[in-house]
């Protein structure tokens, strides 16, 4: 196998292949920076170019793009509070508050370094677990997938903040919105008002943009300020890079375990990247020391999701390559590309006499593209982070145009534009009335999975699925995380009350 690794490095660093990979990295970065455009768009863009290419040229192009989308998508998450793609939703929680404090460059640098290390760890882990990947993937049946979805839902408890009941309401509302459209278990359309647009349900990009981006832009415009709060000092860019790098080194264990988690969630088909960042964020908040700063600009809240969302890309390739099961829209297009190139996903991808060399090339490209993508993003940081200092009234029209462009590409229906503004106003009201928004997004993302796997589990195993060892282990983890989440929230709000009390006593 190691001989193939060396060969893959030799292929990647030939001028033509390197140039093609850099083109892919450029496309991936562009797609990542533009809110609403995700991996599916990035992969689809490149499909026309691979006709007539050989696999050793086409794969660096496609994988180069896939590898860096979740690195570049941090720009809008940190600077605008808008998820650049589905994998960078949780980064908003602490990245945006850091930008508002004038620490955008530090947050971006920490994010890029953790993305790079996460991507590299993901690629290495993928390489090491390839021989045992097949039985590992097959160990996950629908009951375990259901429990993983419920584990994702338990993050609601962690993100609910000071008002857990409202967090739960928000999460349940997300589950209900996720039930709009065609039922996954039978040919029935639910809550569609006979509207063609709703037959396929609402799209994640429209919901995420509406829920987070529009309320933020409206509030910024109303306040008449820039993203960076008045009085916040912008730091020197090199010092910020250094600080971001030190943050990552200081939290290396967090980077490592978040990346490992990313690979694990990635290789389980059906959950995909939309949830890995939330799980990683939630677990980090549960397990680190002094988590009180999470949600208010704690750098560890950026490092954890960013390490896992790049690492996930490696994991997501396992079911795609070994079973031909794409875990997301992006990997579905990638699978199509493999078939176009004459590669047949299956056990032959692991055989030395088969296509193991191609599998290794994919892994090596993932690693190399991560390094190039991170370098390019770091070089852009200085220019892009200045956007945070532009007055909202001058930045907003451009952001709104980009957001509407991104939202419309979801289904290319007028409904995308209408849903964006309706959800935006609804999200704004929820925010003003102190309903946490992230639980709604988590509920929405996991809704279809929960329903599908619940139905499959009960239809196949009745209630016996509850006694499966994997289910029980995941149930215990879920309970521990949920209880811990409530305790952390209580401790955080108690501390905040104490500080307020002390301030008022000093004032008196």
């Amino acid at each position: 196998m190691w001989q193939f690794v060396l060969e893959a490095f030799a292929i990647i660093f030939t001028p033509t292949t390197l140039g093609v990979m850099l083109l892919g990295v450029g496309v991936g970065m562009t797609v990542g920076i533009l809110p609403g455009l995700g991996g599916t768009v990035g992969m689809s863009l490149l499909i026309p170019f691979i006709f007539g290419m050989d696999a050793e040229t086409a794969i660096p192009l496609m994988i180069g793009a896939a590898a860096v989308i979740h690195t570049a998508d941090t720009f809008p998450s940190v600077l605008l509070g808008v998820p650049g793609s589905s994998g960078s939703q949780a980064t908003i929680m602490d990245g945006y508050p850091l930008a508002r404090r004038g620490e955008a460059a530090r947050a971006l640098a920490a994010s890029f370094f953790s993305s790079m290390f996460g991507g590299l760890i993901g690629a290495c882990t993928l390489l090491l677990i390839l021989p045992i990947a097949r039985p590992l993937v097959l160990a996950f049946g629908s009951p375990e997938l259901l429990m993983l979805a419920i584990l994702g839902l338990s993050m609601v408890a962690i993100l609910a903040g000071k008002r857990p009941l409202r967090g739960l309401i928000s999460g349940v509302l997300g589950l209900l919105i996720g039930a709009v459209g065609a039922a996954p278990t039978s040919p029935v359309y639910r809550y569609t008002f006979e509207t063609l647009y709703l037959f396929d349900g609402l799209k994640l990009a429209v919901l995420a943009l509406g829920l987070f981006a529009l309320p933020e832009i409206l509030d910024l415009l109303a306040s008449g300020t820039s993203i960076v709060r008045e009085g916040a000092q912008q730091k020197n860019i090199v010092a910020s890079w250094k600080q971001g790098f030190q943050d990552v080194v200081r939290n290396r264990f967090l980077v490592f375990r978040s990346a490992a988690l990313g690979v694990m969630v990635g290789f389980i088909p059906g959950l995909g990247g939309a949830v890995v960042d939330w799980i990683s964020y939630g677990i980090a908040r549960q397990t680190v020391k002094n988590p009180e700063g999470f949600g208010q600009g704690d750098i560890r809240g950026v490092i954890a999701p960013e390490s896992s969302n790049n690492a996930k890309e490696g994991g997501a390739l396992i079911p795609t390559l070994l079973f031909g099961i794409p875990g997301s829209g992006g990997t579905a297009v990638l699978l199509g590309a493999f078939i176009l190139l004459g590669l047949q996903p299956g056990p032959s991808m692991l055989k030395e006499t088969g296509n193991l060399n191609i599998t290794i090339l994919i892994i090596v490209t993932l690693a190399v593209a991560n390094v190039f993508g991170t370098t390019a993003c770091l070089l852009l940081t200085n220019v892009v982070s200045r956007l945070a200092t532009v007055k909202a009234s001058r930045l907003a029209p451009f952001v709104i145009v980009i957001m509407l462009t991104g939202a419309y590409q979801s289904t290319r229906h007028w409904g995308d534009l209408l849903a964006f503004v309706v959800i935006g106003l609804f999200g704004w009201m929820m925010r003003k009335l102190k309903f946490p928004l992230p639980p709604m997004l988590i509920g929405f993302v996991l809704s279809v999975g929960v329903e599908r796997y619940l139905w499959l589990s009960t239809a196949r195993y009745e209630w016996e699925w509850l006694t499966r060892p994997g289910v029980m282990i995941l149930a215990v983890i879920t309970v521990v995380l949920t209880v811990g989440g409530f305790r952390v929230n209580q401790r955080t709000s108690r501390n905040a009350q104490q500080i307020q009390q002390e301030i008022s006593n000093e004032g008196a």
Binding site: L45, V172, L176, S186, V188, P397, Y408, R412, L433
Partner: protein
Amino acid sequence: MREHKLENIVFLTALLGIFGWASVTSWGFSDQAQTYPRLVSYGGFILCAIELVVYTLTAKGDDLKDQAKSFFASPLAYILLFAVYIVAAYLTMGETITYNEDKLLPIPTAISMVFALLLTLLIVYNVGRSILPFVLYLLLYYVLIYFIGMVIASAIFVFLFLLFIGKMKWYLALLSGILVLFFLINLEDIMSLRWPDSIIDPLEMLGF
């Protein structure tokens, strides 16, 4: 920051209504399709009811003097809106209107949409009316998209927004609008994007 107790109660009541409607509607789906939305909407209904009761009993009230100053900020405005909605929906139960030549829309559904819009406007007006001018600009943008297409509408929107809200010099605002125009035209070509249909397509007329 004000707690907006009245608006919180109204919003929770509206959510209660949404979950209630969702649970009633779910009974009309086939067996396999109804279990999940029914469980979710029951759960949401119960959670909302608990939160509504707990919040109403425990939250500190708004300054009633503030509410007395304006009719729109008073409980009466919300009660009136809810009452008119319920009566109108009840009286039109079972009636439909035809749209798009052959499609039927139940009148209570149409009334519910109008009610949701008015309720949203009322809450926005009371909670943060300073965003209303920007929402109007956004709606103007939508109208422009509908008539002249996304690309030209975006350029005009950026120009007008920068000129009147951003207080930018007219030539800089114009330049920004033109840059957006060329950015979107190129983005469409490079990324194979599509734009919403519009009544007229000036770009096509100009040969783009």
